[in-house]
């Protein structure tokens, strides 16, 4: 019997007739912790590398990280199932009300959390208030080839569909919104609706174990809705009432 999960759509205050409310399902039983999603996300979204020292201070910028914990001690020790954590795109997002400049805002049409880089002034209140630690901050001009000469050639693979962020700006997983927009535009040019599976974020695209499913969660026929609808499903820190758009399927037996 599937456990009743609060769905973002149940109390969503969204406009009618929009192209969809997007969500993700992560199957922790399948995730092998291989980090392909981390690399894929970084390459797709112009996520900078910060170097060893800044990474040591906890300033690494990846929008998705894979958590693992240990249970017990040797020899009866077990690793908990790998857990990829990215922005959960909460319906009731704690990051939004604390932003003084409305840089962290809610998309009314798609019920996503947005980070508007050109508004952000770097107060970092949002990161402070995010229970998932999903937000990362540009402590330096990590992407400026004038300050990092090694980027002069590396910058050639930057994705032109994603803004290159600079110092003092907060950022986070966007559900690869550039891919959503691209799919919407393609669908509109062909005068049809977006097909299920047409929008694939970089992480889900790369995942060798196919542990990540993405799609519309307001449509019960999609793969992602069906995948979420099992007894293994749960939301991270459900008790906070954030109503995330990401459902985790428990690992283990």
């Amino acid at each position: 019997m599937p456990k009743e999960l609060k769905s973002p759509t149940s109390s969503a205050n969204t406009a009618q007739d929009v192209q969809g409310i997007w969500g993700m399902v992560v199957d922790q039983d399948l995730c092998t912790g291989c980090q392909a999603c981390v690399a894929a996300c970084s390459m797709e979204n112009n996520v900078p590398f910060v170097g060893e020292v800044d990474a040591g201070y906890g300033r690494s910028m990846q929008w998705i990280r894979i958590e693992r914990f240990w249970q017990g001690s040797y020899p009866n020790i077990k690793a908990t199932p790998y857990q990829p954590v990215m922005c959960q795109n909460c319906h009731n997002a704690p990051c939004e009300p604390v932003c003084p400049v409305y840089a962290s805002v809610h998309s009314l049409s798609e019920d996503l959390n947005l980070q508007v880089y050109n508004r952000c002034v770097g107060t970092r209140y949002c990161a402070n208030n995010c229970p998932y630690e999903a937000r990362v901050f540009n402590w330096r001009d990590y992407m400026d080839p004038r300050q990092r000469p090694e980027l002069v050639t590396l910058a050639n693979h930057f994705n032109p569909d994603v803004t290159v962020r600079r110092r003092g700006v907060m950022e986070k997983c966007t559900f690869c919104i550039q891919r959503i927009r691209h799919a919407e535009d393609t669908a509109a040019s062909e005068n049809r609706d977006i097909r299920d599976g047409e929008v694939v974020p970089a992480c889900a695209q790369a995942c060798p174990a196919s542990a990540i499913t993405f799609g519309r969660i307001d449509d019960p026929t999609t793969k992602v809705s069906q995948a979420a609808d099992t007894s293994r499903g749960s939301h991270l820190l459900e008790e906070l009432g954030t109503i995330p758009h990401v459902t985790y399927l428990a690992g283990g037996a």
């Binding site: 406009a15 929009v18 508007v116 050109n118």
Partner: protein, 197 residues
């Protein structure tokens, strides 16, 4: 300390000083913005008016507008497609001939630009029935292109709102179904993530 400073500034002279500083900052900003709106120097003074009057469609040289985000600026090979049949005369055509001869790209400077935290896509705008001149002005009167207005977010949003307002122009019969569609479209078109990501 702060109180002392406040007292100094609260004198007539202090007030005038504050006023002058504010004026300088403001006029500097206005000057800077005006400077940013000036059309840049182009490598060739391309006469748009002449080409438009000859009946060449915008999309002939800027075909990307129909298919994707960027309309594209033609390379010298496109120019040469026609101009190799036409006498090389005047001040500008020899420049083109030189680019072609040296197989050099013409470094056109894009004028109608948005900042790179804005992702503008031409295709849906054309699909929605906008004509090029709605945003780019009457190009048949321009030699070197300049923007007819400042292309900023207010200007974008004004249009997005106007095109989705439930008014007799958009919804002549006041049909509630159309009104709902317009409402949804307005939410979508005024959503930050429509352009910023």
């Amino acid at each position: 300390m702060i109180k002392k400073l406040f007292n100094v500034l609260n004198q007539p002279l202090g007030r005038i000083g504050i006023f002058i500083i504010a004026l300088v900052v403001l006029s500097g900003a206005v000057w800077g913005i005006a400077q940013a709106q000036k059309p840049p120097q182009q490598p060739i003074q391309f006469p748009h008016n002449l080409h438009v009057r000859l009946g060449i469609q915008c999309l002939y040289c800027h075909p990307g507008a129909l298919r994707g985000p960027s309309p594209g600026i033609p390379t010298e090979t496109k120019c040469w497609g026609c101009h190799q049949q036409i006498a090389i005369q005047g001040t500008e055509l020899p420049k083109l001939a030189a680019y072609v001869k040296n197989n050099q790209p013409i470094d056109w400077v894009p004028v109608a630009q948005v900042p790179d935290f804005v992702h503008f896509v031409h295709r849906p705008h054309i699909a929605a029935g906008l004509n090029c001149e709605d945003c780019h002005g009457n190009v048949s009167n321009m030699t070197v292109y300049q923007n007819p207005q400042v292309m900023n977010m207010g200007w974008c949003l004004n249009c997005h709102r106007a095109k989705t307002a439930n008014n007799p122009q958009n919804n002549p019969t006041n049909d509630p179904a159309v009104a709902a569609k317009l409402e949804a479209l307005r939410v979508k078109l005024t959503d930050c993530s429509t352009c910023h990501y």
